[in-house]
C-alpha cells in the first residue's frame, strides 16, 4: 500500500488545522474591516 492509514489521517488533520487557521486570519481581518468593504468582497463569490 502506498500510504498508511495514519499518514492519510495526519494529512486530513493537518489540512483541517490549516483551514481553521485561515478562518482565524480571515475573521481577524473581517473584524477590523467596515461592513461595506468586506460584504462587497464576499458578494463577488455569492452573487454570480
Amino acid at each position: 500500500m502506498k500510504y498508511s492509514k495514519e499518514e492519510l489521517e495526519e494529512y486530513k488533520s493537518q489540512n483541517f488545522k490549516e483551514r481553521l487557521k485561515f478562518i482565524d486570519d480571515y475573521t481577524t481581518w473581517l473584524k477590523k474591516t467596515p461592513n461595506k468593504e468586506w460584504s462587497k468582497q464576499q458578494n463577488k463569490i455569492l452573487s454570480h
Binding site: 478562518i23 480571515y26 474591516t33 460584504s39 464576499q42 455569492l46
Partner: protein, 200 residues
Amino acid sequence: MEFEFKNNQILFDRELSELDEFVIKFVKILDKNKINYVLVSGYVAILFGRSRETEDIDIILEKISFEEFDTLWIEIEKEFECLNTSSSKEAYEEFLLNNTSIRFAYPGKYIPNMEIKFPKKEFEQETLNNKIIVKSENYAFNISNLEKQIAFKLFLGSDKDLEDARHIWNIFKDHLDKTIIIAKAQELKVLEDIINMVLA
C-alpha cells in the same frame, strides 16, 4: 465589522448579496402571514461574512395547521416554486408532517432554495423559542441563538460545519457565553476534543 449586539437583537447592516435578497423576499412572506420561523445553519455564518456559498437556506417553521399552511403556500407560490411537489396537501401531509423538508426556489431555478421543516427534535423547538433578531433599515429576520447554533454545528461535525462554528465563535466570542455552548454540545454528545479544538 460593525454590529450592535444587545439582548436578543443584532443591529447590523451590510451590502446585500443575491442570496440575502432571496432570503429577505421569502421571510417577508412568512412575516406577512405571521408565521414564527428561525433561520439556522450555514446561512447564519454566511450572513456574518463566512467566505463560502450555499445551495440551501435552512429554516424551521412553527408547526401550523394545514389551513394556515395552505394560505401560506398560496402566498409563497406567487414568487417561488416548491421543488418537491405542486400540491400543498402533499407538501404538508407527506413531507412536513413526516419530518421531511420541502424546498422552495425561484420558478425554474433549483439553487438557491429555502429548505423548510417543522421542528422534529426538542432542540429544534428550543431554537425556535430562543431566536434572535437581526435588523437593519432594509431587513429584519430571525436567526438561531448563536450559542446553540455553534453547539449544533459542533454536533453536525463535518469540516464545513466545524468551520462555520469557528467563524461564528470568532466573530461573536465577546458577546457569547462559552459555558452555554459547551453544556449544549455535551448534551448533544459532542467529543471534548472537537469542542476544545473549535472553541480554542
